[in-house]
Symmetry: C2
Subunit: 315 residues, 2 copies
């Protein structure tokens, strides 16, 4: 029986194996994903992002517990930043969320952000598809950091939660401005810290400066103390309110379309490049071109055009 | 006369115009870049990166003044984070470094980080090439943030300076670990803050844990107060020491090769995708595929394979 068939029958180990194959870039994984795809589209996807140190892991842990108590199955994809040099995950294989370890209704997978060829948002989407096909009701994507990569990843979600922390100060004004536009819900975690109310007010003021269409969703700012499990129910209720808004207004269709368009195009970009690069690498063209560019015997722009003309059969 | 010819004759306005064309993705810019390319390879490229709020702009301003007083011409490429929604630069067109505004030996260009199609490291490399061909002795690339994008960009530099700020605490341990490996020189700016010495010690300890080859460059940790112009000469001297190390050991050849390989491949990836995407967008294929994927009439994986087989003429 194929991995995909075993996964559809509820085999957790087959799912873990397929996700490892995806992470390692095995070609066979694509065949399995094709089989799983018709069984996807049922999971609700929640993105949780925010700067390092905002306590996202603990928050995700508590949100998972809250969904479990509502009888939902929860998949978690945690994106680990990668060392740009060694290619390894920086946070390592965190032993996280031990209390869910023996719970068959929770499935956790860490993905390392690896260089270029992989295309992280691509493999994240694939792993989400596996969890979706496994029958997870909710899939949480957790990213560390607030760069373009993280924004790309959380935009695969139906509801995006931005986690802030009190007292970050004016220094992160730039980050705030970027992240204000992707959040459907803002959470100020570690709300027992002195500056919490000020941070809530600042965020609320910045959000009010947005102009909302009539009937558009207006993001709220909530306080949580994930360590003490405070504010979690309110946060989950607000996520559910956003979900109802999307389905009630039909806006969900646009979000799903954007998500699929992005995943398809990312995948196309990666695979196209991998094909052509593989070709010019093996036949020695790339080495020759690189030497010529370094020695300035030719320019890189016409070299790119030449390769494209050869492979796409047009100019 | 073409823009490129005017640039080679020292026409600053032609250079500004070409950089705007690059930023806007005009196809004509590529022809100009081809003409300029044989005249590049003389500038020394310095990358300056670090978290928001570390005072990088002020530092770059002072370093520029220091190089000017040594008789060097300085180009600056400042990468602005972009709003993921509006596509506009978050920091806006900062009026920065006024004191260099009337100095013909300084050329400043801000680049906004725009979505996907553009490929920021690609256009950054093109702008650096223009500055190089203009005869700038030093080109400084300044990025805001410490994500994978920024790391990709500063890796185009010959010498990378990582700017830290005192008192960031344990929260950014993950960021530190990622960034330790890309720095040839570490600067703790705002060194008048109470925690400065502790931050210097922490960085030094983390660096000592690296294992260096015999004769390899060992990054130092320096303190600066850019606002008061303190420590800048020492910093520039250290950058120059690194440059001498690279040329003395011949290591510069490897760095230049990596830089060109990366730029060539980024460019190839972007152009390949743009060609194929343009094709399936115009002929309506993309719209049809997207509808089929959303309705789960077909899976995205075989759709990608089909498009690739059609365009690359193999399967």
């Amino acid at each position: 029986m194929s991995l995909a068939e075993r996964i559809l029958q509820g085999d957790i180990r087959a799912a873990a194996r397929l996700m490892r194959d995806i992470d390692d870039g095995f070609g066979s994984a694509v065949e399995e994903l094709k089989t799983l795809y018709p069984h996807t589209g049922n999971a609700y996807i929640i993105g949780i992002t925010g700067p390092p140190g905002a306590g996202k892991s603990t928050l995700v842990d508590q949100v998972t517990a809250a969904y479990r108590s509502r009888g939902k199955r929860v998949g978690i994809v945690a994106i680990d930043p990668t060392s740009p040099f060694t290619g390894g995950a920086i946070l390592g294989d965190r032993i996280r969320m031990n209390r869910h370890a023996s719970d068959e209704g929770v499935f956790i997978r860490s993905l390392a952000t690896r260089g270029h060829l992989g295309g992280l948002s691509h493999s994240t989407g694939d792993v989400v598809n596996v969890m979706d096909a496994m029958g997870m009701d909710v899939v949480i994507i957790e990213t560390v950091g607030v760069g373009q990569d993280e924004i790309d990843i959380v935009r695969m979600a139906h509801t995006t939660v931005v986690v802030m922390v009190p007292g970050l100060g004016d220094d992160i004004q730039a980050i705030k401005a970027g992240i204000l536009e992707i959040g459907d819900l803002f959470v100020v975690n570690k709300a027992d810290r002195p500056d919490a109310d000020r941070t809530v007010r600042e965020l609320a003021v910045m959000l009010e400066m947005n102009s909302y269409r009539e009937g558009a969703w207006r993001p709220k700012v909530l306080k949580t103390e994930a360590q003490k499990n405070l504010g979690i129910e309110e946060m989950v209720n607000e996520v559910e309110a956003h979900r109802e808004h999307l389905f009630g207004t039909g806006e969900i269709r646009r979000i799903i379309e954007e998500k699929h368009a992005k995943q398809f195009l990312d995948n196309l970009r990666d695979r196209l490049f991998a094909e052509v690069y593989g070709h010019i690498h093996i036949n020695g063209r790339f080495r020759k071109i690189l030497d010529d560019i370094v020695e300035r015997r030719r320019d890189p722009y016409s070299a790119v055009e030449e390769i494209i003309a050869e492979h796409l059969g047009r100019d």
